[in-house]
């Protein structure tokens, strides 16, 4: 439905390299705290970017109205800007159409009424049995359209439902996250029970000394590690600039051979658009195969610059970040969470991490806190809730010290483009550097 507006601009700019990118979103978010809905919003939004390139010189304007007057003046302004910016000597031209091979995903796009969402939230709150429930239930219905003067003209739509919730019981809390393609796929009552049980288990936590521990990381905690790893080095631009942990490491063993990480848009549980933000098809890329660093991800510019094909990882051009993985997936193993706990003599169970940040991107060191359920494991059993702890840890070292990998994949709440798919992990020698009060 939006391609007409994009074609209008492309036709109007005939003879000039022109690219139009449109994103339109309806977002409904019902937020609750202290077991009632305290914020409840619905927003219809749209943005169209017009990019022209004159002899390698970029001009770009974004607007959120689609009248012909707005489009005409935006195009004129983009051309004016292009005339006065210096040329990019590495300008690769605009991409040409390429076949999209991934099958369309099974979204059921619907106009869900606010009272339906409120009822679902009520179900969740009621199922927490008088504990303190907070969270957000979100419907996101997003369309992107991209067209360029080389003939790319694509439109795709993504519909997701997500629930993120924290249930508190005095000094403890539990957490759940679920993102699905349909509202009916979220089991609100079961999720409420998971978060409530964990909150009850966590009461009266004790302080544990910092140090090196064996950890059993639930999928949400693993999601943080994998998502941050994705930011620190798989992109071709970071690699070319010498800022990637993979510089000099391609072909080398960088983690345990149990670890394989893909950018995996064709995975049956992957969520995302079928093409990237340049209009090129998303492709599966093996990033780490059985512990060995294999490949980078590329956008059109860096593919051309480095003699490769685009992997469909382009962000809207031009940008400072370069290509990054969109659908990070840590391939599953064979263990259950219960087996990981049962095999642990002394260790810590981590539900998830909080407020993580990069300390050293080359050594892949990050720091953050545990949150919403941290427990001591002794002789194969969860024995004692512990106060939240600060970790300062190299991700690659953690993935080198991995002993067991979970057999089931979960979508992680911590992600940067599309949800990361991760299993639970059992990791030895994980470093905690502090404890909170």
């Amino acid at each position: 439905m939006y391609l007409d507006s994009l074609s209008y601009v492309i036709d109007k700019a005939k003879g000039i390299d022109t690219e139009c990118f449109l994103i339109s979103n309806r977002r409904i978010l019902t937020r609750f705290a202290n077991s009632y809905i305290h914020q409840n919003v619905s927003v219809d939004d749209m943005e169209l970017s017009i990019r022209v390139v004159l002899n390698g010189k970029n001009g770009k304007i974004s607007v959120n109205q689609l009248s012909k007057d707005t489009l005409d003046s935006a195009l004129e302004r983009a051309i004016e800007i292009a005339k006065i910016t210096p040329p990019d000597p590495d300008y690769p031209g605009l991409p040409t159409p390429a076949a999209v091979n991934i099958e369309r995903q099974d979204y059921q796009i619907r106009d869900i009424k606010p009272e339906v969402l409120a009822q679902k939230v009520k179900e969740f709150i009621d199922a927490t049995s008088n504990l303190n429930a907070s969270g957000a239930l979100e419907i996101s219905d997003t369309t992107i359209a991209i067209a360029n003067s080389n003939g790319i003209a694509l439109e795709d739509r993504l519909f997701t439902v997500s629930l993120e919730a924290v249930v508190q019981d005095g000094d403890s809390s539990g957490y759940v996250y679920s993102m699905e393609k349909n509202l009916e796929d979220i089991d609100f009552i079961s999720l409420a029970k998971v978060a409530s049980d964990k909150a009850r288990m966590g009461r009266n936590p004790v302080e544990l000394s910092p140090g090196y521990y064996t950890v059993v990381l639930e999928p949400q905690a693993v999601g943080t590690l994998v998502s941050f790893l994705g930011l620190m080095g798989f992109g071709a631009k970071q690699f070319a600039e010498g800022r990637s942990f993979l510089v000099g490491k391609i072909g080398e063993k960088i983690t345990s051979e149990m670890i394989s990480i893909w950018d995996y848009p064709s995975h049956t549980r992957a969520i995302g658009f079928l093409f990237d933000f340049e209009g090129l098809p998303r492709r599966d890329v093996v990033l780490i195969d059985k512990g060995v660093a294999k490949n980078l991800v590329y956008d059109f510019k860096y593919a051309k610059k480095m003699g490769k094909e685009s992997t469909g990882n382009g962000l809207p051009q031009p940008n400072t970040d370069g290509p990054i993985p969109f659908n990070l997936t840590l391939l599953p193993g064979e263990s259950s969470l219960e087996e990981m706990i049962a095999s642990t003599k002394r260790g810590i169970l981590v539900t998830r991490f909080h407020y993580t940040n990069i300390v050293d991107p080359i050594k892949t060191v990050i720091t953050g806190m545990t949150r919403d359920g941290t427990f001591l494991i002794e002789d194969g059993e969860i024995t004692t809730p512990v106060k939240n702890m600060r970790f300062t840890q190299s991700i690659l070292e953690a993935l080198s010290s991995t002993e067991l990998i979970g057999k089931e994949l979960f979508r992680s709440g911590e992600h940067f483009i599309y949800p990361t798919l991760v299993p639970a992990l059992k990791v030895n020698n994980f470093q905690f550097t502090g404890v909170t009060r």
Binding site: N34, N40, D45, K60, N64, I84, G135, M369, R390, G434
Partner: protein, 479 residues
């Protein structure tokens, strides 16, 4: 703008809202990023939209749209009411707002040079030249420079008769040099990291910060860091530069004093606060020389404005006095719970978001003396400058910050450079160890343009007036 605003307001009231506020916003943003003499990103975004917040049946609802024809405005206003009615399915009590004066006003921040009237090629050429200077220095492989400008026209009306128009221009800019050698990457930035310095001012800010005059120095520091030893792991006296004190204030004071967070309204996202509502007047936040204010009236501060997004005038309030917590950041809903009126800190990220409690300019009030005096007065310790990373727990107690550069202090003098400095602590203990704050000559309002909060995520522009400060017995060099 007025026609649209009142159409939405009247529709919502006719449809059953008992309270309604509307913001119609037109905004423009220009962002320029240059890397190694090439324009790497150029953002020029113009947008408009409307946000309608209502109370119906005692609960909140909000709807916004960028589609501004009459039928969409009416539909969106009605939707806001429907959403409020849906919210009331779980309500425990009716939302009540503290009283607010009816205001008819216009406010504009003072601007000497409108940044949107400065030719783009002039801005680009400064950044190109700055990156050229930096990349000439040994081992500096990446040099970046950026400028950002925002212009916002905002009309606020509510069902209590308030009508406020504000026109705000903000500017920011900075440069960074990356020394890269054999698997080591070291960054130095000026005047601050993550984009530089930001203020509610015009292009005069860019002229004052003199990016070209500082490019050589920071590039040489980035290069020197590659040969520097690691910051030792120890417990020592720590002096922080003003920009890092600003971030320390932001994370360990600014967020914990937000009353919505204290009341659990942010629990599912960034968490709660170690402060309870009963701590006002009692909690020892830090040492006796610690005085914190929230001041939205400071000229040029990135957290300055005329009125917040509930129509409450900008204010200066005490938060910590002589080390004791004496105030919170409040809005109309939370101040009602305290039996007070709002202190005007409720702001929304554009038209598409609801207003929530946000920092204004949260300041560590100045002490005495200069940074030079403070270093002279320190026998042994470490001076750290310019933030590189930050992390704090979900109650805002345990924090860890990484910085770009540090210098060892020996016998009152800065000696060798140290790389990868960081420090960690627990909020009240850390502020309890504060024993010196530099004076007004070192005091500056640092702008933070990317303060994240809320679901859907909102970014706020906030400020922190700070000067360098000294803390005793701090754990540094966490590895």
């Amino acid at each position: 703008m007025r026609d649209i605003a009142y159409m939405a307001l009247n529709t919502a009231l006719e449809y059953g809202a008992t309270f309604c506020e509307v913001r119609v916003i037109k905004s423009r943003r220009q962002g320029i990023t240059v890397k190694n003499e090439l324009v790497e990103e150029l953002i020029d975004r113009v947008e408009e939209g409307i946000g309608i917040r209502v109370i119906a049946n005692g609960s909140w609802g909000f709807a916004g749209t960028s589609f501004l024809d009459k039928s969409n405005i009416i539909e969106t206003a009605q939707k806001a009411v429907k959403i409020a009615l849906a919210s009331s399915l779980t309500k425990k009590r009716n939302v009540e707002l503290s009283t607010a004066k009816k205001i008819i006003a216009t406010w504009r921040n003072p601007v000497k040079i409108n940044p949107f009237e400065v030719p783009l090629d002039k801005k680009v050429s400064i950044l190109i030249e700055a990156t050229r200077i930096m990349t000439r220095v040994k081992d500096v492989k990446i040099a970046e420079g950026s400028m950002d400008f925002w212009e916002t026209e905002k009309l606020f009306v509510n069902s209590e008769g308030t009508e406020i128009f504000q026109h705000i221009i903000e500017s920011g800019g900075g440069i960074s040099a990356y020394g890269i050698r054999e698997g080591d990457v070291q960054r130095r930035s000026y005047p601050n990291s993550f984009g530089g310095q930001y203020e509610t001012r015009g292009y005069e800010l860019i002229e004052e910060i003199k990016l070209l005059d500082n490019a050589q120095r920071i590039a040489e520091e980035a290069s020197a860091l590659l040969d520097a030893p690691e910051c030792p792991s120890t417990i020592t006296t720590l002096i922080l530069d003003g920009s890092q004190v600003a971030l320390q204030v932001h994370e360990s004071i600014g967020h914990p004093i937000e009353l919505d967070r204290i009341l659990g309204m942010e629990a599912s996202y960034a968490g709660t606060s170690f402060i309870s509502i009963n701590d006002k007047g009692r909690l020892k936040y830090g040492s006796k020389i610690m005085n914190i204010t929230a001041d939205a009236t400071l000229p040029g501060g990135l957290g300055s404005f005329g009125f917040d997004d509930e129509g409450i005038p900008a204010q200066r309030v005490d938060i910590v006095r002589d080390g004791i917590l004496v105030g919170f950041l409040t809005n109309r809903e939370t101040s009602y719970i305290l039996g007070e009126t709002s202190n005007g800190t409720c702001r929304a990220d554009g038209w598409r978001n609801i207003p929530i409690i946000r920092m204004t300019n949260i300041n560590l009030e100045p002490g005495t003396g200069t940074l030079e005096d403070l270093i002279k007065d320190t026998d042994e310790g470490i001076f750290m400058s310019t933030n590189k990373s930050w992390s704090i727990d979900d109650r805002r107690l345990n924090f860890q910050f990484g910085l770009e550069i540090a210098w060892e202090i020996k016998n009152g003098k800065l000696t060798r450079i140290l790389k990868n400095p960081n420090y960690t602590g627990i909020t009240p203990e850390f502020w309890g160890s504060l024993d010196a704050v530099c004076g007004s000559s070192e005091w500056k309002i640092w702008g933070v343009p990317n303060c994240g909060k809320g679901q859907p995520g909102q970014l706020a522009h906030v400020g922190h007036g700070t000067s360098p400060a000294r803390f005793r017995n701090v754990r540094v060099g966490v590895r």
